[in-house]
Symmetry: C2
Subunit: 459 residues, 2 copies
C-alpha cells in the first residue's frame, strides 16, 4: 500500500504541479472584502479535489466569514485505526506592494526549481502536498492506512474568526488522535523542522485624533498637538531602544523561561547571524539583548509596527497637521502570555502616556494564544521518521516564531496533540512580494505525508 | 480717479466673482507632476486677464518648473511715481483626502457668503482681488496712480524653486520701492492683519531602511530591527513630550527673543485659547511651554510630522516587517534661524541616534528663511490706512506662522520692504478639504487694494 502510493506520487508530479497551479490562480486574499468571492472559489476547488480523489462527506461549510472545507475517510470501527485530523488553509496574504512583484502574483510561473505565486508556499503548496498524498493512496489502494479528517479554512491570514465557533460546534465530528498541520518552513533544504510550539499574537490598531480636521502647519503649528508627533512618542515608549525589551508594565511577568534541556534542543539548530543576514538582507541583526538569535525568533516576545496611516504621504511637501494618525502594531507572545491581558496592559499603558490634548483609541483586531507541545509524543516522533524517509534528513526541533491562532483552540477543544511540519523554505518570501515554493520540497513533502500516514497507522 | 475705481469695483462684483471661479476651475496643483499642464493653464489665465485689462509687457516666463507670469504698468519717469511690485501665486495645494470634500474641489460653489474651492483663499482669491483692483483703475482712468509690476508664480506651494533664479536674473526689471503680497488670513472679519514677519521652514524626508525586503514578522520578528520601530524612536527624540521643546542640539541658539515692545504688540491681538479650540476643534491646545498662544503660532519654532510611508496600511492585519519607513517632517523656523544649518543639525542628531542595524537617509526637500520687517515703514503704515478704508477696521500687527519662501530672497535681492496683507480667514481651511473664501472679504479686499494704490502714490 505504501509502495504503490509512493510510486503513484513519483509518476504524477506533473499532474500535481498542474493542480496546485490551478489553485494558485485563484486570488483568495482573505483580508480584503472584495476578494471574498475568490476565497469561496478556492474553497470550492479544494472540495472538488477532495471529492474527485474519493474522500467522503465533502462539504463547503458556510460561516459568517469565508467558508470552511471538511472531508473524511473513516473505516470500520472494528479495524481500530487511529484517526488523524489534517488542517490547512487556502486563503493568502495581500500582494502589496504590487509593483515589487517581478511576475504577476496569481499567474503561477515555474523558474528552475521554484514555483512563483502568492500562496505557493503559504499555504496552498503545502496543503496541496497533503491532497496529493491522500490521492496517491486512494488512487492505488482505494483506501487510506488510517482514518482521516480534513479541515481546510479560508481565514488563517485574518486570525481564523470563524474556525473557533466551527470547532466548538463540531468537536465530536472532529475528534482525532492527533492533528497534523503542514504550514511552516524548513530551516533549509537539508533541515526539516518539527515545530513544538508557536508564538501567540496580539494585533492592535492605535489611533490618535487631534484637531477636528487637517490644519495648515504654518497657521496652527504651535497651537495644537500633532497626532503624528503624539503617536510616534507613544510608539517609541513601547520598546527600549537599547535592549529592545518591551516596556509595557508587567509584560514579561508570565513569560516562561526555557529549561536547560529545551535550551539545548533549540541551540542544535544551525541558525546563526550569517544565516540571519543572508535571509533578511539587513545591515546587521538586532533583537532582545541577552538571548541568542534562535531563541529571539521563537521563544521570546517581540513588537513590530507594520504601518502608520493618515496625513500626507504623496510626493512633495504638503505642510499639514493631520487630524488623525493610526498605527498597526503587533506583539508576538510566548507561553504563558495571553493576548487578552496583554491588550489590557497595552491599552492602560498607552492611556497613561497619552496627553489630554488628543483622543486615543486602541483596538484589538486579531489575536492568537501561544502554544507549546510535548515533542516526545509518538505522533510527533512518527513525523520525525517520516521526514527522514521523505527528505533523507533528520529534522531539527524548533519552536515557531509565527502564529497559527487556531492551534491553541484545537489542542484545548479536541484534546489532541498537534504535529507541526512543513515544506517551505525561509527565503520563500511568504507575506512578501515574489513568494515562491521550492518544487523539490513539494515532491518530498508529498512523500513525507505518504510515509507519515503509514507510520501513524502503527502508533 | 480713486472714486471712479471704487465705483467700478462695486458695480462689477458679479463679474469679478465669475472671473475668479474660472481661475479656480483649473486644478493647478504644483506638487504632483501630472498637474503641470494645469499649472500652465492657470498661468495663461492670469496673463490673459492682465492683457485684457490693459497691463503692458505681459509674459509667461518659462522656467525649469512651472511658469512665472510678469506684467507692468510704468509711467513716464518725469512723473516720479513710486513703484510697487505685487506678488501672488496661482498654484494650489493637493486635495487629499478627496473623500473629505463635500463639494468637488475644482467646481467652485457659492453657499451663502462663502465660495468653496481649492485655492479660493490660498491664493487665487486674494491674487484675483489685486487683478480686480488694477482693472478698476484701468477701466475707468486708463492708468494706475503708481507704477506697478506684477509677479505671479506657480510654485509657491512647493517652496518656489524657480522664482529665486528668476528674481536674481531680473533684479533690475523688478526693482521697486516696496513689495506687496496678499496671501494671508485676517484674525477674523473685524481684524485685518499687517504681517511684519514670517516663520521659515525646513521640510525633510527621513528614511530608515532595514531588511532587503518585507519580512514575515512571525518568522523574522526578533532577528532584525523593524524600520518603523527605529523611525518612530528617532522621531520621538525630536521633541520633548512635556515641554514640546525641540531636542535637536543647538536648535534654539540663534532664536531671537522678542523686545518688550514687540511682545506688547503681539499680545494686543485678540487670540486666546477659546478661539484656538474653536478654530482647530482640538480637545485641548498644546505647544511650547512658557509661551502664550499668540507667540507659539508666530514667533516660536515648531516641529510637525506630516505623514509616514511604507509598510502595510490596508484594511486588516498584515504581519510584515517592512523593508523601509519614511517620514515627512517639517520645522517652522524663526529669526535668526537658517534652514541650512538646521538641516545639518537635524541630520547629525538623527545619525547620532540611529543604530547601525538600519540605514538612515535624511533629505532636505524644501526650505524658507524666516523674515522680520520694520512695521513702522511708510509703505506698511499705508497698508494699515488702506485696511481701515477698505474693511472699516484698524489692523492688528502680527508675525506670520506660515512661510513664503521667496520673501526673504525678495527683500535681500530687491532691497525693498515687503508689505504683507491678506483677506483670508482662519477657518478658510487652506491646505485642507473644503477650502473656502469669505466673499465679503473678497470685495473689501478689492477696495483695500484700490485704496492702497492711492495711498502708496503719496508716500
Amino acid at each position: 500500500m505504501l509502495d504503490s502510493a509512493l510510486q503513484f506520487a513519483r509518476q504524477n508530479k506533473a499532474a500535481h504541479l498542474s493542480g496546485l497551479c490551478d489553485w494558485l490562480r485563484i486570488p483568495s486574499i482573505s483580508t480584503t472584502p472584495e476578494h471574498a468571492p475568490d476565497v469561496r472559489r478556492a474553497a470550492d476547488f479544494a472540495a472538488q479535489y477532495l471529492r474527485a480523489i474519493g474522500m467522503d462527506k465533502v462539504q463547503v461549510h458556510e460561516t459568517t466569514g469565508h467558508p470552511i472545507v471538511y472531508a473524511e475517510h473513516m473505516q470500520p470501527a472494528t479495524l481500530n485505526l487511529p484517526t488523524l485530523l489534517i488542517y490547512g488553509h487556502f486563503d493568502v496574504q495581500p500582494t502589496d506592494p504590487d509593483e515589487a512583484w517581478t511576475r504577476p502574483p496569481f499567474e503561477p510561473t515555474v523558474d528552475g526549481d521554484n514555483l512563483y505565486a502568492r500562496g505557493a508556499s503559504d499555504d496552498k503548496g503545502q496543503a496541496f502536498a497533503i491532497l496529493a498524498a491522500l490521492e496517491s493512496y486512494l488512487k492505488t489502494s482505494g483506501k487510506l492506512p488510517v482514518n482521516i479528517k480534513v479541515l481546510f479554512e479560508g481565514e488563517e491570514e485574518i486570525t481564523s474568526p470563524s474556525l473557533l465557533p466551527y470547532i466548538q460546534s463540531h468537536a465530536d465530528e472532529l475528534r482525532a488522535d492527533a492533528i497534523l498541520i503542514a504550514d511552516q518552513d524548513m530551516l533549509d533544504s537539508q533541515h526539516p523542522v518539527i515545530m513544538w510550539g508557536l508564538r501567540g499574537l496580539l494585533y492592535a490598531e492605535i489611533e490618535v485624533t487631534g484637531p477636528a480636521r487637517d490644519l495648515h502647519s504654518g497657521t496652527f503649528g504651535g497651537s495644537v498637538d500633532n497626532p503624528f508627533n503624539v503617536l510616534t512618542r507613544l510608539l517609541a515608549q513601547l520598546q527600549d531602544g537599547d535592549t529592545r525589551r518591551i516596556l509595557i508594565p508587567g509584560f514579561y511577568d508570565t513569560v516562561e523561561e526555557l529549561t536547560d534541556e529545551e535550551r539545548a534542543l533549540i541551540s542544535q539548530a544551525p541558525i546563526n547571524d550569517d544565516v540571519g543576514i543572508y535571509l533578511t538582507g539587513a545591515p546587521k541583526l538586532a533583537g532582545e539583548a541577552g538571548y541568542p538569535l534562535a531563541e529571539r525568533v521563537s521563544v521570546r516576545p517581540t513588537l513590530d509596527i507594520h504601518g502608520i496611516m493618515g496625513g500626507f504621504t504623496g510626493e512633495g511637501s504638503k505642510t499639514v497637521i493631520p487630524a488623525k494618525a493610526m498605527a498597526k502594531v503587533s506583539l508576538r507572545l510566548v507561553p504563558h502570555q495571553h493576548p487578552g491581558p496583554v491588550f489590557e496592559a497595552l491599552t492602560s499603558y498607552l492611556k497613561s502616556l497619552c496627553p489630554s490634548t488628543v483622543k486615543l483609541d486602541v483596538r484589538n483586531i486579531g489575536q492568537a494564544v501561544p502554544v507549546k507541545v510535548d515533542y516526545k509524543h509518538p505522533a510527533i516522533q512518527a513525523a520525525a521518521t517520516a521526514y527522514e524517509k521523505g527528505f533523507g534528513h533528520k529534522p531539527v526541533y524548533l519552536r515557531g516564531g509565527g502564529s497559527l491562532p487556531i492551534v491553541h483552540d484545537m489542542i484545548r477543544i479536541l484534546n489532541a496533540p498537534v504535529v507541526m511540519i512543513g515544506f517551505g523554505l525561509p527565503d520563500d518570501r511568504t507575506h512578501s512580494p515574489n513568494e515562491k515554493f521550492h518544487l523539490p520540497n513539494f515532491y518530498h513533502g508529498i512523500e513525507t505525508v505518504i510515509h507519515y500516514l503509514d507510520l501513524f497507522s502503527k502508533i
